[in-house]
């Protein structure tokens, strides 16, 4: 498979994929690796990292290691689900706008711009605050603020593809427009969209962390952003409370970015690297 071969040529992407795989495994097997409740008190509060608690304990005596391991679930899940929803909205709107053009395009582009002109993080805060903090509201908020770039990319891809001769041939053969959009055009537009979505998972994880840090996360579930947010009052006394979940976020986002870049190189081989002017 040339795709796998091209992907494997990129060392960073392979490393990112391995790290990401380990994080996903950790999230799935969380209750096996660290079989304790991350929300329950396990020992004395604010113990520094030691033999009993490798990552220390927090103000309520909860195990930070358990928090980091179990928190991976929420972070990854929110990143994935909100990106899938954003991609679905974005691709649908972008595809319709790009394929049909005319006033449909005008209307949908104005709508997209409306969402894009509002500062996205403030918009997300507003949405979560209105909808009462919880898992569903966070996912919705992230999806609502992140779909416009996907829609714009999908629109430009569809605009250039719908003029291709193979699309005209399909029209002449009497293939319906829905079938043309889904089966003729979409597969050709998919690779840049996949790359963009993979990078947006990382952004979604960061947004979730930021929301939780501000206290707008789901208070009943442990997440990395929530842990850092809770630790901010004792930041100078107990560094381990914010450093370990912070590292977890940094490593996950880095791994996803590396994988996304690798996907980009493998799916669009002609865009790989930089254009070098030979002299």
């Amino acid at each position: 498979m040339p795709f796998l071969k091209r992907f494997a040529e990129n060392w960073g992407a392979v490393a990112g994929l391995i790290v990401l795989g380990l994080i996903v495994m950790m999230a799935i097997t969380a209750s096996v690796i660290v079989p304790v409740d991350p929300m329950a008190t396990q020992g004395r509060p604010l113990l520094p990292p030691g033999r009993e608690f490798p990552f220390g304990t927090d103000m309520l005596g909860r195990d930070v290691l358990a928090g980091v391991v179990h928190g991976a679930r929420i972070s990854l899940m929110i990143g994935l689900v909100s990106t899938v929803i954003a991609a679905l909205i974005g691709i649908t709107i972008g595809a319709i706008a790009g394929f049909f053009g005319g006033w449909v395009d005008d209307a949908l582009v104005r709508l997209t711009e409306f969402f894009q002109t509002i500062p996205s993080f403030i918009f997300a805060i507003l949405l979560v605050a209105i909808m009462t903090p919880g898992l569903a509201s966070i996912v919705t908020a992230i999806a609502v603020v992140t779909w416009p770039p996907i829609a714009r990319l999908a629109r430009s891809e569809f605009m250039s593809l719908r003029r291709r001769e193979f699309v005209e041939a399909a029209v002449l053969s009497g293939v319906s427009r829905t079938r043309i959009i889904i089966f003729e055009v979409l597969p050709n537009a998919l690779s840049p969209l996949i790359v963009m979505s993979s990078l947006m998972i990382a952004t979604a994880i960061l947004t979730e962390s930021a929301l939780s840090f501000l206290g707008l996360g789901d208070p009943n579930r442990i997440s990395w952003g929530y842990m850092i947010g809770a630790a901010r009052t004792v930041f100078r006394q107990a560094w381990w409370l914010s450093v370990f979940p912070g590292l977890a976020i940094a490593i996950t986002v880095l791994a996803i970015n590396l994988v996304g870049e690798g996907l980009n190189d493998a799916l669009n081989p002609h865009l790989k690297g930089r254009v070098r002017v030979e002299t």
Partner: protein, 548 residues
């Protein structure tokens, strides 16, 4: 051969080889070739796409794409250009060896005025300014109108021929000893091509330059060349003077290439049963307009004006014209990919005017008029198998999958492709094979009319001939009416019974191809025929013995 060897070589290439990376379709792009370019002569390097002719030119210029390196010897003025340090090569390139390219729009900087781009050549090679005089005199030499104004123009506002003239001006700015021209006229219309070739010939004679001209068209060779070298798979298979090679080719490959060159010879018109017309068009109009800004003036282009024709069953009507003449627009209106402003298109057996039907009423009629597209790469969806591509119409019209599979096998056989190709993707096929797949797709719906929009212009000549034969044969057997759009009058002469000549959206002359192409009434038609490259060498049957 003697005259060829006696001339003092300006460049002598010995044992030049360019290795391709592993996994390519062959080992070497250029395979130990020897070539001499004499000053004051025009050497034509002829070959089909992928024969290594452009690679040879790029090796001389030291512009091979990155991982590739040249091996061997390119002797130019006592220096070996192979492995020459970049800064030394740069001093030769542009100053002593000039180059022009196929697509002048891609070779010119779109955001810089053309006068400044020519000035840059002087500036980079350390020629002290001011340059105004030189630029204007160069542009005048190139036969460009009002050079003192034109030098302030941006490339996009010039025509294709003007852009190519600017490119030539840049290449000749420092009076190079050698000019390399890589398919300089392929992207141009025939009438412009003739002018550019004449310009090149004149510039070459005035300056006594050596010219290496790369082309796939033996017509161009006959027009301008002194010597010719034929390349195939990276090797030179035949070389000699133009008269020798064209008149008495030795190598098999040269013979097949020459035989495939379309000739402007009358075609024995088949007996036509005078049917009622299958498709008639009347007074078709299409105007494009766009407004620049809210209050800007509205620019209108009349793409098709009052065009009309009649096509009978089993007949081929050629629509010929230069780019921008509106022939493709007319084709797209006939198949209803574009909407006309006004006019009438009638298909036999249908009451209404096709142009006035809505999408829903049109749907059942679509399959009666099918299209073969120009670009064999853009017209097949790269993500679908050949079966899905050919069968898409059948499946859309509710033919069961098993029946569609049988039909696709039949169709592939009809266009001389192996039925097992059905499971493969388009990237497994060459340009000619892809065009066959496109034809099979058009035939799948058993159409009455096929509109073929430049179906062979993207193909090499030898493949062109085979695809044309296939089209003609299918049309005879299936009694289809064919509308054949082409810019090449030679191709039209080969396949068309009737020819319509289009100029600026109007059909200026129409009639049986024997009349229009061999006894034209209109000046424009005469001009088009006159501009066919190498007419002298390829036109008359008298020279047919020399070529076949």
């Amino acid at each position: 051969m003697n005259a060829y060897a006696a001339a003092d070589p300006l460049v002598s290439i010995e044992d030049l080889t360019v290795q391709l990376p592993e996994g390519s379709d062959r080992l070497r792009a250029v395979d130990s070739i020897d070539l001499k370019i004499a000053s004051g002569r025009v050497l034509c390097l002829v070959g089909e796409s992928g024969s290594g002719k452009s690679m040879t030119a790029h090796a001389i210029m030291g512009l091979l794409p990155k991982p590739l390196v040249a091996q061997g010897m390119i002797r130019f003025d006592g220096e070996n250009l192979v492995g020459l340090p970049a800064d030394r090569h740069r001093r030769i390139r542009g100053r002593r060896i000039g180059m022009i390219f196929q697509e002048p729009l891609a070779a010119l900087n779109p955001v810089m005025r053309v006068g400044r781009q020519i000035e840059e050549v002087f500036r980079f090679h350390g020629v002290p300014g001011p340059y105004d005089e030189r630029v204007i005199s160069l542009l005048t030499d190139m036969g460009l109108p009002e050079p003192h104004l034109l030098r302030h123009a941006f490339p996009f506002s010039l025509s294709g021929g003007q852009r190519q003239r600017v490119m030539i001006a840049m290449a000749l700015a420092l009076d190079p000893e050698l000019l390399i021209a890589d398919e300089p006229t392929t992207a141009l219309d025939v009438t412009t091509q003739k002018q550019i070739l004449a310009l090149l010939k004149r510039a070459q004679a005035e300056r006594g330059m050596g010219v290496m001209l790369i082309t796939h068209d033996f017509g161009v060779v006959a027009e301008i060349g002194d010597e010719v070298a034929v390349m195939q798979h990276g090797r030179i298979v035949e070389r000699g003077s133009v008269a020798q090679v064209l008149g008495n080719p030795q190598h098999e490959y040269t013979k097949t290439l020459l035989a495939a060159v379309p000739r402007l010879v009358p075609r024995t018109a088949p007996e036509l049963p005078h049917d009622e017309p299958l498709l008639t068009a009347n007074a078709v109009r299409k105007t494009y307009s766009n407004r620049t800004g809210l209050f800007g003036p509205r620019r209108t282009v009349e793409a098709v004006r009052e065009a009309g024709f009649t096509l009978c069953r089993g007949q081929t009507l050629g629509i010929v014209g230069e780019s921008g003449s509106g022939k493709s627009t007319l084709a797209r209106i006939i198949v209803r990919l574009l909407t006309a402003d006004s006019g009438e298109v009638r298909l036999s057996g249908v009451e209404q005017n096709l142009l006035e039907l809505g999408t829903r009423e049109l749907a059942p009629l679509r399959k009666r008029v099918q299209m073969v597209f120009q670009d064999p790469f853009a017209s097949l969806n790269p993500r679908r198998t050949v079966f899905e591509i050919v069968a898409q119409g059948l499946l859309a019209h509710g033919v069961p999958r098993e029946a569609a599979r049988r039909r696709v096998a039949e169709l592939l056989e009809l266009v001389a492709l192996d039925p097992s190709s059905a499971e493969r993707y388009p990237n497994a096929f060459s340009g000619g094979q892809r065009q066959r797949i496109g034809i099979a797709r058009a035939l799948a719906m058993e159409p009455d009319v096929i509109v073929a929009d430049e179906p062979v212009s993207a193909l090499d000549v030898s493949i062109q001939a085979r695809v044309l034969d296939l089209l003609a044969d299918l049309q005879r057997r299936l009694k289809i009416g064919m509308l054949f759009i082409t810019h090449d009058l030679r191709v039209a002469a080969q396949i068309c019974d009737q020819v319509a000549v289009m100029q600026q959206g109007r059909i200026v002359e129409m009639g049986p191809s024997a009349d229009v192409l061999f006894n034209p009434a209109q000046d424009y038609t005469k001009l088009l025929i006159d501009s066919i490259p190498g007419r002298g060498a390829f036109l008359a049957p008298a020279s047919g013995d020399a070529a076949s």
